[in-house]
């Protein structure tokens, strides 16, 4: 039973982190209609920078247990990288989607070497830091506290995002712009600022996601391109542009991956993509997406 539970927790943990990146993707797509291939690069950036930040914090005398807040702060701060990148993307807003996609691909290429330049070609990790919070007992089983905290944090972020989008004025303006850009602009929304803030929010979600994952996994130069694959599976299954889709899709992908790894390792990514194809045949727009043709 423990093994099943480990798979479950592992899957949900992975889903929590995936959700953050996917939520960023969905926001940016929903409002700006841009699919950001560089989402994995932001994630990797958050991971690498998080490791460095923890290193500085420890060197600066902060106690080990502060690593979680340090990671979160470093992820948030790094989100500011989204601003100049959005400015760059602004040059192709009016163009065909293919060009927007290509520009984000150019960013992927550039980021690869930026990461390599600052952190080198070898993977980096934080050792077993995630265990330093110990374990928490839930009935018969015990789980690493860190993982539980991350899952809770992810849920908290999901809830606050939902609240922000549904209940605040700012959120409503965002949703209006997503529905109908011209109408929103005609009604006085400052589309430029909205785009800048949405993209930055999307970036922050990515960098925080990457930062949160490093206590449990190494940061490597493969991260940016590999994460895109899973993140896209999430948004395709969940439906492009849908937050609920990001949540459900992340759970599906996270759990499938965990199950595949423990039962038949070769199937890992294959299983995910088979589900993608099945979902698309049954519901072309994804589980929660709006049909487009």
């Amino acid at each position: 039973m423990t093994s099943f539970f480990d798979v479950l927790i592992g899957g949900v943990f992975h889903a929590s982190v995936l959700f953050l990146v996917a939520a960023g993707l969905q926001l940016v797509f929903g409002v700006q209609r841009i699919v950001n291939l560089a989402c994995g690069s932001f994630y990797a950036l958050g991971a690498y920078f998080g490791i460095s930040a923890v290193g500085w914090a420890t060197a600066g005398g902060l106690p080990t247990w502060t690593f979680l807040p340090v990671l979160i702060v470093s992820g948030l701060v790094l989100g500011v990288v989204g601003l100049p990148i959005e400015r760059l993307l602004r040059t192709v807003y009016k163009r065909d989607e293919a060009f927007q996609l290509l520009l984000t691909f150019a960013l992927v290429l550039m980021f690869q070497d930026v990461l390599r330049f600052f952190w080198g070609a070898n993977p980096k990790q934080l050792g077993n830091l995630s265990m330093s919070y110990g374990k928490v007992a839930l009935g018969d089983v015990s789980l690493p506290t860190y993982n539980v905290l991350v899952m809770l944090a992810s849920v908290a972020i999901a809830v606050s995002l939902g609240w922000f989008l549904q209940r605040t004025r700012h959120g409503r303006i965002l949703r209006a712009t997503a529905e109908n850009r011209e109408m929103a602009a005609a009604l006085g929304a400052d589309v430029r600022r909205i785009y800048a803030s949405v993209f930055t929010l999307g970036t922050v979600l990515g960098t925080v996601g990457g930062a949160l994952v490093v206590p449990t996994a190494a940061a490597s130069l493969d991260m940016p391109v590999e994460l895109v694959v899973e993140a896209f599976a999430v948004v395709v299954i969940g439906g492009l542009g849908s937050m609920r889709g990001a949540l459900v899709g992340a759970l599906v992908v996270g759990l499938t991956r965990a199950a595949a790894i423990s039962f038949y390792a070769e199937l890992e990514v294959l299983a995910i993509y088979l589900i993608v194809i099945v979902v698309l045949v049954a519901r072309p727009a994804g589980l929660f997406g709006k049909p487009v043709e």
């Binding site: 209609r33 699919v35 291939l37 760059l88 040059t91 192709v92 163009r95 989607e97 293919a98 060009f99 996609l101 290509l102 520009l103 691909f105 150019a106 960013l107 992927v108 290429l109 550039m110 980021f111 690869q112 070497d113 930026v114 390599r116 330049f117 391109v225 895109v228 694959v229 896209f232 599976a233 948004v235 395709v236 492009l240 390792a265 070769e266 199937l267 890992e268 990514v269 294959l270 993509y273 088979l274 993608v276 194809i277 698309l280 045949v281 072309p284 487009v292 043709e293």
Partner: protein, 323 residues
């Protein structure tokens, strides 16, 4: 309609073909060996651009077919003892078309970004299959591609490089010319006109009796064939079929090359393939951070020169002609 190639165009193409034929005689073996992958990519891109530039569908999974081509070459030469290059190329193409059918049937129901994501997914599906099923595919080391025979002739006495920059080079050049000519005919046929209509305005095309879904499917199948032929050429050239050939970033490079050369032009992708191969090679020699500079190049093209090198050339020509 500008389909009958103008005299100027024919002369230009002839000059380029002659130059390519003469190249191994005048250039160093190093640069000549660079042209070989350029041949492979040029053919693959002819197919890719039928789908992208002419029909308006951006696939981020075209590398799937390139990989199929290379692996077909590996299986045929290594496991099945089929050494005829001509057979390899044909079989690779057919296998790709068969593989493309289910992908296309699903993918052409979508357009634009959804098509791109779906094709990316299929490409990665194949990659994970190649990567994980070690017993079948050799896993991350891939499979060897043995030297084929050209028109039945076994060039055993030649060492690898001499074979590649010699008879193999010329057969690939011939293949490129033949396939390019076929693609020219396709693009300038009634079928091609309907593809252009689909690109420009799919809804209106339907009302004019254009079978949009079916033709997108056909274009997809043709592009798969070309992709695999290119992949087979690459496989023989490298001597190895590698799962990374199917990775989505490789598909991204195919798009990069096409846009670099100019997707709105027939010859653009060909120019793009050659330019990219040389550019990448020079950059890799010059700096460890060549990916960064490739990225910058792509960004500059997308932002400032979206019609690529052919676009620049055509603008320069128009200016010159005006005087």
């Amino acid at each position: 309609m500008k389909d009958a190639p103008g005299r100027v165009l024919l002369v230009g193409v002839a000059i380029v073909v002659v130059a390519l034929a003469a190249f191994p005689k005048v250039a160093s073996p190093y640069y000549t060996t660079l042209v070989l992958p350029a041949f492979g990519y040029a053919i693959a891109l002819l197919g890719f651009n039928l789908l992208f530039g002419f029909t308006g569908l951006l696939s981020f999974g075209h590398a799937l077919f390139v990989a199929i081509g290379a692996y077909s070459a590996a299986v045929l030469t290594g496991k099945l003892g089929v050494k005829s290059f001509e057979a390899i190329v044909l079989v690779a193409g057919i296998v790709a078309v068969i593989a493309a059918l289910p992908v296309a049937l699903l993918a052409v129901r979508y357009v634009r970004i959804f098509f791109g994501i779906l094709t990316l997914a299929f490409g990665m599906l194949f990659h994970s299959f190649l990567f994980k099923f070690y017993n079948l595919t050799g896993g991350d080391t891939g499979m060897r591609v043995l030297r084929p025979t050209l028109f039945g002739t076994d060039f055993k006495e030649l060492d690898k490089t001499t074979f590649l920059i010699g008879p193999y080079y010329y057969e690939c050049l011939a293949l490129l010319v033949v396939l390019a000519f076929a693609m020219w005919r396709i693009v300038h046929s009634p079928f091609g006109l309907h593809l252009a209509a689909i690109r420009e305005n799919p809804r209106k095309a339907e009302y004019l009796g254009v079978r949009v879904h079916r033709f997108r499917l056909l274009a997809f199948l043709i592009s798969a064939f070309y992709g695999a032929v290119g992949g087979a050429i690459l496989g023989v050239n490298i001597g190895q079929a590698d799962p990374e050939l199917a990775y989505w970033t490789h598909s991204g490079e195919l798009v990069f090359m096409t846009v670099l050369g100019g997707f709105a032009s027939f010859f653009g992708p060909l120019l793009g393939a050659f330019t990219f191969i040389f550019l990448k090679s020079e950059l890799m020699g010059a700096t460890e951070y060549w990916r960064f500079f490739l990225g910058v190049t792509l960004a500059v093209i997308v932002i400032a020169f979206p019609r690529g090198l052919m676009g620049l050339a055509s603008d320069a020509w128009t200016k010159a002609v005006r005087r």
